[in-house]
């Protein structure tokens, strides 16, 4: 498709850089870029411009002195909503002034409505919707756990499996801890991921495991795998200290990705 006489457009090159081309199309374009100096230069130029733009947006400053206040304000609003809801539940269900007959009648109507509404359809698997939020693990549940290892041991290891399979019991325990139905894994929505991957000294301790979504846009399990390989390489090249790499990936892997890989990944 991309013979030398028919060069890809800038839009196609951009979509290639952003991994937005279908696989087959991308492969053909890659072959063309490898053999066409002109298009290769175009690719470098577009990439460079795009990175300048990323830097520009990254350095934009907004006065966020009010940040703790904003968080406190939000927390207050959330608490108000939560309490408001609890109040109404408490008021309706347990107010002694309401007669037993009234409560019984309300419950019966509710039950009848529920049965009619749900009788004809299969019961869905309940997956807590906020489980999709696990872009980074909950620090309280998954602070990360590492074993004492030497650099030589890490860099000479031939096993490159970033996420060795954990036992089913551990998998279920991790999912339960995060309030997710373990059926979600069978739908390939999550993988039980190592916060600090074994190649950087991470262990299969439950404190080092969390359910990472495959989806969630850019910050998914695949992106983290890219970071893990990159950091391992940097540690073995002595570009980054092992302890530092462990700390960064356990602290906020998305920030580490931005720091070490940026948009190149």
């Amino acid at each position: 498709m991309f013979a030398r006489s028919s060069h890809p457009t800038d839009e196609e090159i951009l979509r290639f850089i952003d991994h937005e081309l279908p696989a087959e199309h991308a492969e053909r374009l890659r072959e063309h870029l490898d053999g066409c100096c002109e298009c290769h230069a175009r690719q470098a130029s577009i990439k460079n411009r795009s990175e300048t733009l990323d830097d520009f947006y990254g350095e934009e400053r907004i006065e966020t002195n009010a940040r703790p206040v904003s968080r406190i304000r939000l927390q207050e609003k959330l608490v108000t909503h939560r309490r408001g809801r609890s109040f109404w539940h408490g008021a309706i269900a347990f107010r002694p002034a309401l007669s037993t007959a009234t409560v019984t009648m309300l419950v019966a109507i509710g039950l009848a409505f529920y049965v009619i509404k749900n009788a004809s359809k299969p019961r869905p698997v309940v997956v807590w919707s906020f489980s999709n939020l696990f872009l980074v693990p909950n620090g309280a549940l998954t602070p990360g756990a590492v074993r004492p290892v030497s650099l030589q041991e890490i860099c000479s290891a031939t096993d490159d499996d970033l996420d060795p399979k954990v036992s089913l019991a551990t998998e279920v325990a991790v999912m339960k801890e995060y309030g997710i139905s373990s059926d979600a894994t069978t739908e390939r929505k999550y993988q039980i991921d190592y916060l600090v991957n074994p190649q950087l000294g991470g262990t299969d301790d439950i404190r080092n495991l969390w359910p990472q979504p495959y989806s969630n846009g850019r910050w998914n399990a695949h992106a983290k795998d890219v970071l893990e390989r990159h950091l391992h390489q940097m540690v073995c090249n002595h570009t980054v200290d092992l302890a530092e790499a462990q700390k960064e990936i356990a602290g906020d892997w998305i920030a580490a990705y931005r720091k070490y890989i940026g948009r190149q990944g």
């Binding site: 457009t9 800038d10 839009e11 951009l14 979509r15 952003d18 937005e20 130029s45 411009r49 300048t52 733009l53 990323d54 520009f56 947006y57 990254g58 350095e59 934009e60 400053r61 907004i62 006065e63 002195n65 009010a66 904003s70 968080r71 304000r73 939000l74 927390q75 609003k77 959330l78 608490v79 909503h81 939560r82 809801r85 609890s86 408490g90 269900a93 347990f94 019984t104 419950v107 019966a108 509710g110 039950l111 997956v127 807590w128 919707s129 906020f130 999709n132 939020l133 872009l135 980074v136 909950n138 309030g179 979504p213 989806s215 969630n216 846009g217 850019r218 906020d252 998305i254 948009r263």
Partner: protein, 190 residues
């Protein structure tokens, strides 16, 4: 009658247990929402402010977006992509706020350039302007939708997500990005 009685008592038992379980879930949702707020509030604030509204209004919008997320999750509704969902809500709220501001005040867009960097120290402002002055001008001259596409791409969102947020087709996102980058290149050559 016996069925009615046993069902009712079971339901009452359920109702009695329910508030406690719900409270625990709500607390959990609240913690998750706050955690996500810490992660994303700056990104969303930047996005809101890029509509030309004040930082204070932007902060209100981000607060409202997270409150909406809390209610959304509390009602048991999920979304495969919370990040995209938050940007979408922030986008819609920012558009509304922008519209309201433009009705109330004439020439509100004139302040767009000052929305960023307004409170950093003069030295930092100067360094930023030196490095990115021309880029900033070219970006400001782009149509708002093109600016938003560039910004969302820079946030790491996929084209499909950008299309949903901005309300344009996938092809338009791709064309917009390519067109905008070409404009930046042309400006560089001048």
């Amino acid at each position: 009658m016996s069925f009615f009685t046993s069902s009712t008592s079971a339901a009452i038992n359920l109702v009695r247990r329910f508030p406690a379980q719900r409270a625990a879930k709500d607390l959990f949702v609240e913690e998750e929402v706050l955690r996500l707020f810490d992660l994303m509030q700056t990104r969303l604030l930047r996005y809101a402010v890029s509509f030309g509204i004040s930082v204070q209004d932007g902060e209100d919008i981000v607060q409202d977006a997270f409150l909406a997320l809390f209610l959304h999750l509390q009602r048991g509704r999920g979304d495969d992509n919370v990040c995209g969902w938050l940007f979408r809500v922030t986008h819609n709220l920012s558009l509304k706020r922008r519209l309201k501001a433009s009705r109330e005040t004439v020439g509100v867009d004139a302040g767009e350039a000052e929305q960023f960097d307004q409170s950093s120290n003069p030295e930092e402002s100067m360094l930023f302007s030196e490095r990115y002055g021309r880029l900033q001008l070219v970006l400001q001259a782009l149509p708002l939708k093109d600016q938003l596409c560039l910004r969302l791409r820079s946030e790491g969102l996929r084209y499909r997500e950008i299309a949903e947020i901005v309300g344009i087709s996938l092809g338009s996102v791709s064309a917009s990005l390519s067109r905008s980058l070409a404009r930046l290149e042309q400006a560089d050559r001048r």
